[in-house]
């Protein structure tokens, strides 16, 4: 039985870390050594350990970052953060500390464990992935949305379709703002027939696709639309397991990877949430094409804004921060001078944080 090494770097051990690790431990034929960074307080580590259902095959220990990364096959990055939605001013405000930490960790992984898979566990998935891509250019950065499947099921239910397993769908978009571009219930295509359901027709008439984002994200991107997404179907969380990377058993997963062409016309390196074929030490994105033009416009705006934020942080640039703020929807009613004033306040706060 082959033993694999998993490293957890950062400063927090959330329930998401537990879920991810549990999904790896679940596979019978794998044995894991889980190395947890010493930068995570030992007390937190001990509490976390108790929450894991880990049998005797596996081993967990705390070590320096360098030791954790030795022979690491997969590295989870877990940094404390609390943005209410992954886009907008709130996220930008918090991003300085978070992005800096992720980038430092990402660079460390790229240097000391260049073959390892990098999984940032963050609520700012698109922003963090963009930053990691910019800092490392690693094609092995993966992110999965824990609540994705339940949002897809919500649409299935809203369409009045009987729940089927497996539900087959293709989503596309930047993480936390992705859309269903194709879905079938057995031989029935969601978009193949005229939709009789009034609720769903309204969405399709407006957007020509169905969003798989949270209500908060939707309201941020479309503040004047007053449209309510269907309530997620509870307790059907996405299967996080990436064990296929190590067992070689092929699986299809909706996950976020840097764009290598799966999103036609979108910039390379942009984090893209879509279907990926997971095999032994390999994830191949499935070509997903394009989104409806209107959604593309919004996605591009979000992506460009994230690039500006990343540039602002990595380059300590007040100008890029100002430009990112100028793109923000919540600043649409402000003049450039007013936006400049707001961004200067934020930048000064960032710099104060940096100096401490």
């Amino acid at each position: 039985m082959k033993t694999f090494q998993c490293a957890i770097l950062g400063n927090s051990l959330s329930s998401e870390v537990t879920n991810w690790i549990q999904s790896l431990l679940y596979e019978d034929q794998l044995t894991w050594q889980i190395a947890v960074s010493l930068e995570i307080p030992n007390q937190d580590y001990q509490t976390w350990l108790l929450s894991l259902k880990m049998d005797a095959r596996h081993r967990s220990f705390q070590a320096t970052n360098r030791e954790c990364l030795q022979k690491a096959d997969i590295v989870f990055l877990s940094v404390e953060e609390a943005a209410s939605i992954p886009f907008g001013i709130d996220t930008i405000s918090q991003s300085y500390q978070v992005i800096r930490t992720y980038v430092d960790l990402g660079k460390m992984v790229a240097t000391q464990a260049p073959d390892a898979w990098i999984v940032p566990l963050t609520s700012m998935r698109a922003l963090v992935m963009s930053a990691l891509w910019k800092a490392t250019h690693s094609q092995k950065i993966i992110s999965i949305d824990l609540n994705f499947h339940e949002r897809v099921l919500a649409w299935e239910s809203a369409l009045g379709l009987e729940a089927v397993q497996p539900l087959r769908y293709v989503a596309l978009g930047i993480p936390d703002f992705s859309w269903i571009v194709e879905a079938t219930n057995q031989d029935q295509s969601w978009y193949g027939e005229p939709i009789k359901n009034q609720f769903v027709s309204t969405w399709l008439a407006r957007f020509r696709a169905l969003p798989v984002c949270s209500q908060g994200v939707f309201d941020y991107v479309y503040p004047l639309y007053s449209m309510k997404l269907p309530k997620p179907i509870g307790n059907t969380r996405t299967n996080l397991s990436l064990a296929s990377l190590f067992t070689g058993k092929q699986t299809l997963r909706t996950l976020a990877l840097p764009n290598t062409g799966q999103w036609k016309g979108f910039p390379l390196g942009c984090p893209v949430e879509t279907l990926g074929l997971v095999r032994l030490n390999q994830v191949q994105p499935v070509y997903a094409g394009t989104l409806p033009e209107g959604v593309t416009i919004q996605s591009m705006r979000l992506y460009d804004q994230m690039q500006l934020v990343v540039d602002a942080i990595l380059g300590d640039s007040s100008q890029r921060l100002f430009e990112a703020m100028a793109l923000d929807r919540s600043n649409l009613s402000y003049t450039l001078d007013e936006i400049r004033e707001r961004s200067n306040i934020l930048f000064e706060t960032w710099m104060k944080y940096k100096s401490t």
Partner: protein, 460 residues
């Protein structure tokens, strides 16, 4: 003297046609036939008379014969060059798509490129340009096509979308005005008095939203000089006195917007202020008359354009009847120089609008962009101009994607895509979907006779 045939589509134009005829008259190396075609045949006839009168003047150096063509086929057959300058629809439709938006607090300064006006004008234009592109494909597939019509980007894009092998580019003089400002900067900072066209620039963007990130004259780097210049004039603008902007006419401004944009983004905005503001969020420069006055530019009323047209028509009739003398003067446009270069008589580097082959590395390939290009015999090669600065690139991409949505409306014959595009425009983004729908429905109602191409989406 090189003899050629030029087909002029929109040959009844009051402004562009006369400018061109003037330039032709002053060009000694070229001659031949200019076939004027216009759906208003009378206007083309009048221009033919005006053109031939110009050639009869003693100062005319060219040898041109101006004729009227009764069809596109007649105009285009054997044409070496095709010039297009039309008004999509009439000023009556324009009055609606420019001014009806004021009910929702949206003031439009020019009303022919982006924003609601650009969208509605684009909808009217695309079917017309499909006809033109197909006619060029049939009757003059090897001709070079010079477009002067707005919305420039969408016009040139339509030509390429319909006839991908077309040899077309779009011409715009806005950048030249900014070169003039740069020439002034050089003069103020160094004392050198240089013609504007000797200022070397690297323009990047889409038409009327073009940016300059490199400006030099010989060994002088003008960019840092411009920085100082902006600091000096940012608050007052470029006119000598506080109120001068009020007297510069409906197309003028004190250039305060482009100074402010440099102040904020450190790149030179290379178009007139009235154009620039239409590309940007409403709150920045167009949020009511006070803000507009503060920034010292004018809203060009469509009635002003109608008055100018009427005066042009009256003048044409007087010239035709021998009651008015025709005058010849250089227009400052590049069209004739471009034609000479394409004939191999000269070599030219100037800004044009063509599909992106990589000349702007961070904008989508295939979409029409504006950069410098090298003109030589039968070739126009875009100059690889690098990346646009991040912020202008971001806004530019938003407009490019909106254009793609508009093109989809055309291809699918479905106006619901145009309705969607209206909601994504930078100046309308702050409006609710209900407001967008109301605006769309109202304006569509007024321009419907020009929308027969569209089969769906007229009613929501």
């Amino acid at each position: 003297m090189k003899k050629i045939k030029i087909a002029y589509i929109g040959g009844g134009s009051r402004l562009w046609a006369r400018n061109l005829m003037s330039d032709m008259a002053l060009e000694k190396d070229l001659g031949g036939e200019v076939a004027l075609y216009d759906i208003v045949a009378e206007a083309a006839k009048n221009n033919a008379i005006i053109g031939n009168n110009m050639m009869a003047k003693h100062e005319a150096l060219g040898d041109w014969r101006f004729t009227c063509a009764s069809s596109l086929e007649e105009a285009l057959t054997f044409a070496d060059f095709v010039l297009i300058s039309i008004l999509p629809g009439t000023f009556e439709e324009m009055r609606h798509y420019v001014h009806d938006t004021e009910k929702w607090g949206l003031y439009q300064t020019v009303g022919d490129t982006v924003g609601p006006a650009g969208i509605f004008r684009g909808l009217i234009m695309m079917p017309m340009y499909e006809v033109i592109a197909k006619a060029i494909q049939s009757y003059a597939p090897k001709a070079w096509v010079l477009n002067f019509t707005n919305p420039m980007t969408l016009c040139v894009q339509t030509l390429y979308n319909v006839f991908p092998e077309i040899k077309a580019f779009g011409n715009c003089h806005e950048v030249f005005f900014v070169q003039r400002i740069l020439s002034r900067v050089l003069k103020e900072k160094t004392g050198l008095d240089i013609p504007y066209h000797d200022i070397r620039i690297n323009p990047l963007g889409i038409n009327h939203f073009t940016w300059i990130n490199h400006a030099t004259y010989d060994e002088y780097d003008i960019m840092p000089m411009y920085q100082e210049f902006v600091e000096q004039y940012h608050d007052i603008g470029l006119l000598p006195k506080e109120d001068d902007w009020k007297h510069v006419g409906p197309f003028g401004s004190a250039e305060k917007v482009k100074l402010d944009l440099f102040h904020h983004f450190q790149v030179i905005a290379a178009a007139g202020d009235r154009h620039l503001v239409e590309f940007l969020p409403h709150a920045w420069y167009l949020n009511g008359q006070d803000q507009i006055d503060q920034n010292k530019f004018h809203l060009t009323k469509v009635q002003t354009r109608i008055d100018i047209m009427n005066r042009g028509n009256e003048s044409a009739i007087r010239i035709r009847d021998g009651l008015e003398e025709v005058s010849i003067h250089p227009s400052g446009e590049d069209g004739i120089e471009q034609i000479k270069a394409l004939l191999g008589l000269t070599e030219l580097i100037t800004n044009v609008n063509m599909p992106n082959l990589g000349q702007i590395s961070n904008l989508p390939l295939g979409h029409v962009v504006e950069t410098n290009a090298l003109f030589r015999k039968d070739s126009v090669r875009p100059i690889m101009s690098g990346e646009m600065e991040p912020f202008p690139a971001t806004i530019t991409k938003q407009h490019i994607l909106t254009h793609q949505l508009l093109w989809k409306a055309y291809v699918e014959k479905d106006l619901s895509f145009a309705r969607e595009a209206l909601g994504y425009d930078q100046v309308t983004m702050h409006l609710s979907p209900d407001q967008i729908d109301a605006m769309f429905d109202e304006i569509i109602g007024h321009i419907q006779p020009y929308l027969t191409h569209y089969e769906r989406g007229i009613v929501r």
